[in-house]
């Protein structure tokens, strides 16, 4: 039986660390020899979690501004919240009743 090999590989941007265990063995069945190459991969949270902790409120708000900026102009007519929408609808109904 071949020696068991172990390796760990870290992917910082996805925060995943892949642990890889490899072993080889040859089994016999009658006169046949079957070669078995076995790989096991387990997924771990990478030490890159510290990167996520370093993600501050300023980073978040900065990212949000970038995302929301182009929306402001095009969707300016959309009510700010569902409460506003309900208020507007009530006003419309009241006007219709009169």
């Amino acid at each position: 039986m071949a020696e068991k090999l172990k390796a760990r590989e870290k992917q910082k941007d996805t925060g995943v660390e892949v642990e890889h265990t490899h072993s080889e063995v040859t089994i016999t069945k009658g006169k046949d020899e079957i070669h078995v190459d076995s790989h096991v991969f387990t997924l771990h949270e990478a030490g890159g979690a510290t990167d996520r902790e370093g993600f501050s409120r300023e980073d978040f708000e900065g990212a949000l501004d970038k995302a929301s900026r182009p929306l402001k102009g095009r969707l300016a007519h959309v009510p700010y919240s569902s409460d506003d929408l309900i208020k507007d609808k009530r006003k419309e109904v009241e006007l219709e009743d009169r």
């Binding site: 996805t14 995943v16 642990e19 079957i34 190459d37 991969f41 997924l43 771990h44």
Partner: protein, 142 residues
């Protein structure tokens, strides 16, 4: 621990970001003659384990069986160390890729790889072995 995917394929690998890539999934094999050897076959199994199983060790056993019991081949058991999940509250993920070379096939018919944990069959990977293609080599009618 449960299987979320189990197939026979030509090849498979796991990328550094934890993605499982599988090439050429198949369920049938046509033998040239009997007995026959499958030059290469890759078994791909994806496991999902719940938080209560984290940091435990599981023994995975795989047996290949054909229509006859004497055709049974037991692969060596594989120890699977269940890791913690990559995110809290989610199941842990593990992938197994086994490449078999020179797998003997004695007879045509339904075959399967039985994947067991703790003596219980978790899944089966079917492989239907077809008889030699007798039509091959014949000229097409003019």
């Amino acid at each position: 621990m449960e299987t979320t995917l189990a197939v026979a394929a030509d090849n498979a690998n796991v990328s550094t970001d934890g993605k499982l890539n599988i090439i050429g999934v198949f369920q049938e094999f046509t033998a040239e003659t009997f007995p026959s050897l499958v030059a290469q076959l890759t078994l791909v199994i994806s496991w999902s384990a719940e938080p209560v199983e984290f940091n435990s060790q599981k023994e995975v056993r795989i047996s290949f069986m054909g229509p006859d019991r004497d055709e049974r081949i037991d692969l060596p058991p594989i120890q699977l160390a269940i890791p913690e999940a990559t995110r809290p509250g989610e199941p842990a993920i593990a992938y197994q890729i086994l490449t078999l070379q020179d797998l003997p096939l004695l007879k045509p018919g339904p075959h399967a790889f039985y994947v067991m944990v703790g003596g219980e069959t978790k899944t089966r990977i079917p492989l239907y072995v077809r008889e030699p293609n007798r039509e091959r080599g014949k000229e097409a009618p003019k």
